[in-house]
Amino acid sequence: MQLSLGPILYFWPRETIEQFYQEMVASPLEVVYLGETVCHKRRSFKTVEWIELARQLTASGKQVVLSTLALIEAGSELGGVKRLCRNGELLVEANDMGAVQLLSEQKLPFVGGATLNIYNAYTLKHLMGAGLRRWVMPVELSRDVLADILADAHKLGIDGELETEVFSFGHMPLAYSARCFTARHHNLAKDDCQLKCIDYPEGLPMYSQDGEEFLTLNGIQTQSGRIQHLLPHWRSLADLGVDFMRISPQPRHTREIVQLYHRVIDGEEGVDTEVNGMLTSPVCDGYWLGKPGMEIIARV
């Protein structure tokens, strides 16, 4: 089991991003995903600058993967995805079938992101024919379904070259829209959003009228209100043959979270997997146990 760092899902200022990755260089992360996956208008880094940062992090010993936009509508958005897919050196995480097409045309291996909707081994097999080498399980699937998919993958003879990654820590991306809910909150049209997302480094919490932290608004993306935390279950992931647990960046304590995950999966005894002191939202693990995603089952 190794640790990966997902792309930053929020709109952070350039200096914050630079500092964040400087901190991550020394962390026990095997893989780092870089790039803007939510909104094309967030340009603290231009596409070429992401590629440049990727080169630097590669030189420091990380495997770096460039992540593509999940929802591609406008021609300009597709242009950015093309530049990433044709970078000529670095592995790409395809988060839309458009990126899969661009990568498979070039006969390049790729990582299939969670939004590709891979729900069975037949889909895996087909996408492996197009170049997929690693896949990120859709966040709504459970341990038992993953076990069945991987058993089927074994029967189909495709498990040998396949790596599996599970979104293990962070607010889970749940939905994408043409509308921007952050702009909507400010009564602004999406075309004139004034880049309000910059004010919400961990998204904009959305509560039910009786005060439950239900969802997180992050521009055009809607995330879980709770933070998925699968460290207490890491053995069941490892037993299934999961290769990477993905940690999704948050504005504070990401380094400590990575350290904690590393100590536990590295076999250190007696480490408390409790993280509440470092988080602004409660945790959940329901999906992994076949329940509604918002539920919390494990007591740590």
Partner: protein, 331 residues
Amino acid sequence: MELVCPAGNYPMLKAAVDNGADAVYIGFKDDTNARHFAGLNFNDGSAQKAVRYAHDRGRKVFVAINTYPQPGGWQRWQRAVDGAADLDVDALIIADIGVLAYAAERHPQLSRHLSVQGSATNVEALCFYKEQFDIQRAVIPRVLSLSQVQQLAQKAPVELEVFGFGSLCVMVEGRCLLSSYATGESPNTCGACSPASAVRWEETDRGLESRLNGVLIDRYQEGDPAGYPVVCKGRFNVAGSTYHAIEEPTSLNTLELLPQLQQAGIVAIKIEGRQRSVAYVGKVAGVWRDAIDICAADPGRYVAQGRWMETLAGVSEGAQTTLGAYHRPWQ
């Protein structure tokens, strides 16, 4: 343009055909389709009858097999594909890559349409499905603006079908897990969104409350029109204000855009609502039949007629209709 109407049962199919649908889409009675609701959909017998009724009148039948199979249920999706082929239907509407691969290999002669649940919003994605599975048509998500639809149509390697009327998903179809986050069941996994079994209504001192698996989705004061508690259509609190934080309960109606859609080369207009009634589909099909015919005859002079709009408003969910993403400012 082809008018594609929904049917959740045989009487709905007849109403659709009798009122001018060129094609009707149906699903089987299980989780292989995205409207897996109790009492809805077709078994082998009723599907056979439906296909005969439509074919005798020169209309087409499409079968939606548009959820994402998980390992335990794979055979059900295979059976659905084989069963639809045996019924001699005119096309399958599929989202999952594994199912597309199976259908293309086993029944190459049977047309494949990419379901809206396949989330194809750009030309490269359409090229992928065309090259890999030789799809004939794609139903495109309700998130694209009119100019984006026009641009996509210029370059698309396949026919495009767009939604014209019905409930509006504000999220990209096939990319929304809000329902399973709250209830454990989603359109992708179970063909269900905000399932009825998770809904609870409660009269309280603070008003009528609708809950989904315990989560308070909305609260209504006397006289407020209460709507079904779909996760994205509730009122929530964000930074101190309570409002429809994601989407107001409105319906999509693109009748006004018909000439532009026709001009763009869109081949088919889809009506949402297999879960609605016989009266709904009959009225909606009638209006759209008239509109499409008038628009085809003289697009330059076409206007959405008042009586059409009235009829459609009368069967809309929610008090108002919207152009949705087709109208750029909505985005």
